[in-house]
Amino acid sequence: MTTRFRLALDSITRVRGVHGALLVAGDDGLIIAEALMEKVNGKAVAALAASLAKRLRRSMEACKAGAPHFMHLQAQDGTLVVVPAPDGVLVVTVGDARMNVGLVRLEMLRAAEALA
């Protein structure tokens, strides 16, 4: 993993409650870089989050709302956050239900900017 990618992900995974962060090729749903706890199935998260992001983007565009900047899914036991970065890359973060989403969002947007 290149230093640039590692730094981008490290700043996200330092936030309390984060179980992992990934850079995903949005079109392919494949992992570009990852920093994950062992229990996280990175391949599945990457493929499904990319698929979800693609559908959400289409939904938003159908609503004439433009492309989404930030996607946040909250479940009883966890959180999934996706931020589109340049060149079709997605920054994806998984964490527990109490993860500080505000702080994670900030770090993910920074990471996305750093990838530009």
Partner: protein
Amino acid sequence: MRTTRAVEGWTLVPLERFIMESGARLALLMTPAGQVLAQHGFTRAVDVMSAAALGAAIVSSTGEIAKMMDEPEFRALNHQGVEHGIFLAGFETLRGRLLALVVYGTDSSMGLVELFFQTLKAELVAACPVEERREPVLAADFEHELNASLGSLFGR
């Protein structure tokens, strides 16, 4: 109209589930010789056979390249187009090696297909029955019908 069909019944449910989950458009399960066991999405049987022949050829030829590289096998092969991608992979069952050829569009992705292919593979390996002794398929006097079929095929 149901577009998933199986020559071997045990392949049908896993394949249908795979199609639903991965969002693939076309899929074939076949032997390494290009004989189709199950298919999804194709309309003409002859098109299925062509796709299977070409898919099996890709796997065979890249398998030879793998051997030259001292690589046991390529786990999967992906060909990425603008509107469609092709995923090809092989796996072992009690009936021997099988191949999957999957065509997906922009509504799916390589990652999704790869992800759900793992499930498909596991389900097929678990469902695969041991081969049975076969009874005669054709009647002993099939020649008359064969001659008539070939005659009509060649306009004779």
